[in-house]
């Protein structure tokens, strides 16, 4: 009973051999749909339109609640409520794709006014003749009424043939007073690329620089993973010799070029039409994508080579692009506070108001910022990869077969949600978080994070060690004491960072007006469970804001606006970096943080 699901307008297809939830089908096709609630039908964001299907389901009560009768009649449904059983053609509105999340869903200040760095001007010149011997370039400068206009030799070389073959008409592509390229006529829908180079995933956003809109967005695994799962392993590889560093640089740039080519091809454009780039990443990624020596990032005191914003040409970075295209690399702050953190803070309103705001971007390193009392202070804490499923016996990334949510009843019985609705094969970050919160709530873990062995639902393995089964069956998914320890260390590191910041700026938890949570794990995690295990201080849920890949949004904002670049650079200067390891009370906060 094989069938095909086709996704428009992206033109992607997947082949299915059994019934599948539409949200999971989209994930399988590589489309990251909005699912703030984790697919529970409560957020109503994962709207799709069924274009062609042999059997259109009757709307569920949840769908009737979230969608209008007109929408329902037109075939709109919620992806998480829809089970696909036969050939289907779906339409996914841009507002349902996760990469657009903040720009589309948040009304406050993340809508970015357009001030593109790149401008186009088509000019018609008077032809040269014996009584007007002005040079080609001076003729261009006069038409632009800008005596400071300049260009590099490559660009100047392209002007004379265009003028003489195109009836003395030329389209100038300029950045400030610099002509970066010339074409015969104005390029409609000029393309830019915003990129968030994550350690795990590279997220690319192809943008129409004339409207500021995302045309298409796509993520790809960071190919550096082959040289080390975590940043430190990759840095260790990179600093062995210059060739290794070049290899990581080249791999990253090639991956971006490849994904950009693919996105351009989908809209019948060429990667060589991309005119402008904005690349953000943590400081290690930043140094690797700029091919800066990363040696100093690998050893204490973890000092960056360069923190200033940089504007290299795409060409010098070996990125496929229009000749003359430039790359904006926003500033980084410290060895573990990169331009992705800056982009996250900028996109979520830091520095624009005086709200007491906590920003948390959860990853292998978790960056945390607190805005309060006229300060913005950032820390980075080594939370480790437990929330990404690493170092956990049955850990896995959020992918089909992963337990993403867990409830434990009073008898110690589990109710689980598995991604893809299939048999559980592992547990991802949000499931682990849920499990620990529920184990603690049900008294199955004590306050030191030890299993309470005399409870019947706590199993004992062949080595006499306690074990808790999240799912049973022939291949049960279980959590060991070691797994619990990893989780507690991770959440403890995050909580200690938060506590140090609040202590440093003399803020009490209940004074925090907003907690902004970013990152792939952060997008799936339930804040109440994060509070339940003490990862976050206990606060009303309405102060929590889940923002997905806010760093990507920040990169998009800086791509389309020189004002945003300026504001972000001002923000970068304002951010104070606090080195946790030299904060006197850090050990105490950490010891408290890791308690269950």
């Amino acid at each position: 009973m094989d069938f095909t699901v086709e996704f428009q307008p992206l033109g992607l297809r997947i082949q299915c051999d059994q019934d599948i939830n539409a949200l999971d089908a989209a994930r399988q096709a590589g489309i990251q749909m909005m699912a703030v609630c984790g697919g529970e039908g409560t957020c109503g964001k994962c709207v799709i339109q069924i274009l062609e299907s042999k059997q259109l389901q009757q709307p569920t009560p949840t769908e009737i609640k979230h969608l209008s009768p007109q929408q329902l009649d037109a075939g709109f449904r919620l992806a998480c409520m829809t089970t696909l059983t036969a050939d289907t053609k779906l339409y996914i509105p841009a507002s349902s794709i996760i990469e657009d999340q903040i720009m589309q869903t948040e009304g406050d200040a993340v809508q970015q006014e357009l001030h593109p760095a790149i401008k186009q001007t088509t000019i018609i010149l008077n032809k040269a003749y014996l009584k007007d011997l002005t040079s080609d370039f001076s003729r261009v400068k006069n038409a632009m009424v800008d005596p400071s206009l300049h260009a590099n030799l490559d660009t100047i070389r392209r002007i004379p043939p265009i003028l003489r073959e195109n009836d003395w008409t030329v389209n100038l592509i300029t950045r400030g007073n610099r002509v970066i390229n010339v074409t015969r006529k104005k390029i409609e829908t000029p393309l830019g690329l915003a990129v968030d180079v994550g350690s795990t995933k590279i997220a690319c956003y192809l943008i129409d620089l004339d409207s500021g809109k995302v045309i298409t967005a796509k993520g790809t695994p960071n190919p550096q993973i082959a040289y080390g799962e975590d940043i430190m392993a990759r840095l260790a590889f990179a600093i062995q010799n210059r060739e290794n560093a070049e290899k990581l640089h080249t791999l990253t740039m090639d991956a971006i070029s490849l994904i950009a080519s693919d996105m351009c091809r989908r809209i019948n454009r060429e990667v060589h039409e991309i005119m402008d780039f904005c690349l953000v990443g943590n400081t290690a990624m930043h140094h690797l994508f700029l091919n800066l020596p990363a040696d100093s990032l690998a050893v204490s005191p973890f000092v960056p080579v360069m923190t200033d914003p940089l504007y290299p040409s795409a060409n010098t970075l070996h990125l496929s692009a229009m000749p003359g295209a430039g790359v904006y690399a926003p500033p980084v702050k410290a060895g573990f506070i990169g331009s992705d953190h800056l982009a996250f803070l900028y996109a979520t309103g830091f520095g624009k108001d005086n709200k007491i705001r906590l920003g948390i971007d959860i990853g292998t390193n978790t960056e945390i910022a607190l805005q309060a009392n006229g300060h913005i202070v950032s820390v980075s804490t080594a939370s480790g990869p437990a929330f990404e499923g690493a170092h956990i016996a049955f850990g896995m990334r959020a992918a089909p077969g992963a337990i993403e949510h867990v409830t434990i009843d009073e008898d110690g019985k589990t109710i689980i949600d598995v991604i893809g609705g299939q048999k559980a094969i592992g547990v991802c970050g949000s499931g682990i978080l849920d499990a620990v919160a529920q184990l603690r709530a049900r008294g199955l873990l004590n306050h030191r994070g030890r299993f309470v062995k005399d409870r019947p639902c706590i199993q004992i393995d062949e080595n006499g060690k306690p074990l808790f089964a999240l799912s049973d069956g022939s291949q049960p998914v279980t959590l060991s004491q070691e797994d619990i320890d990893q989780i507690l260390l991770a959440k403890g590191a995050i909580r200690a960072g938060i506590d140090v910041l609040m202590d440093h700026l003399q803020i009490k938890p209940n004074q925090v007006e907003e907690v902004v949570i970013a990152g792939a794990f952060g997008s799936y995690m339930l804040p109440e469970h994060a509070m339940g295990i003490g990862m976050l201080p206990t606060l009303p849920l309405d102060r929590m804001r889940i923002v997905g890949n806010a760093a990507g949004t920040g990169a998009q904002m800086m791509l389309i606006s020189t004002n945003a670049r300026q504001e972000a650079e001002t923000l970068a200067e304002k951010i104070e970096y606090l080195e946790l390891t030299v904060y006197p009370e850090f050990p105490i906060f950490y010891a408290n943080g890791i308690r269950a």
Copy 2:
């Protein structure tokens, strides 16, 4: 009787098989010695020191006049008065080498104050530690107290290893607020290269940027000659396709790199230590050395692509140089008024005073400028290659065997000076000029430039055409009516240019306070003979100033001084280009000019 002549400090040697004049020996070795008088013993510039010789000549009366007894005792002689007959080791003082001519011989304003574009600063930084996490580059900026300091990625990449291997000490090489390179310690005697890219010869001057002094100078034939003797032929080749243009570009740059390598090797340095360049040339050379499309220079209205000053990196021009080294390419004015003309005018004081001054740079194209009444107006005139010996039956460049000076007595008998003192095999520009002036003075040419056939010294060839023998013997050197015509056309073109300028600015010949004559031919020509044939208006000889390769001097001045660059750019804006072909009276002046 083979013997060797060795030249110090250059370390050059030549092998001789017969007695040789020391000035000619130097020329054979490729050393262009000062010989303003043409080797007649009157200027006293070609000073040499005999270091080792089997027989040291007694000083001649001419040498006793020009040199002190102490100098004579120490072995100093005039090269033009010295005949070498056996193994000799000579020392040539820098002041006797022609490339230094103007800087050494002219006291007025060509001495250039140093304001090098490139500076070096050695800084010692505080080592990074956990309580001072400033990035490497910010640390550099702080030490330089310049927040605007910046650098490209290549340069930034070189900083961290130097800091960490060199005890946090680094030497910055900066241009303005841009770090162009970093080294472990200050480079003593920083090197710069000034280049005059002539159509025939490329003259290179290796300069100590710390003192502004010429270390060594060397010329090489322009290898483009293989693709056309004159500029138009080369442009015709270049515009056939992009590959041809690239080839001319590459040939030129390789020739400069080769000569620069050679000069560096002589002083135990590397070509990759050259930090800064200034390249001048006529507009065709300028476009070819910058690899700009030259198509528009090949056809009327001969419009340049770019007239603005340019600052490409040496790297983009494929010049061997220090990484980060830049090239200063001063502005050009028009299709036939290049940056060599600007450099010539700048070096000879145009724009710095209000003297009524005529500047003439004689070549295949002769550029002429007149400064008067607050204006500086330039013209270019196609004087052709006759003065370089081309299109003349026995014409040759100024090389051994060339008749360089001619006197004709009342009986039509000739007295000739031959370069190298050997048998005459041809005649060079200055000899041709002399011959025509003397033929006219002795009434052997009429006012229309025709040979007066009934004079006994006018021979008639087998075709019945008149002929004048400059030298007799088995292989006489003769001048035909066609040769005379070529000379008259050339001098007529120059005179017409001068007359148009004087007419345009309403200046009478005797108002001209100074006539500055540059170019290889101009350096050897006797001004009285140039006036004799009407190439120049008749003026007192003391208003004539022969300046040799003044364009090379201008290039040196701009290399060592950003002030000079600024002043030259201001001068370029002041220069008014006059297109001769649209000047209404030009045909009349030209018709007058070509009369004998």
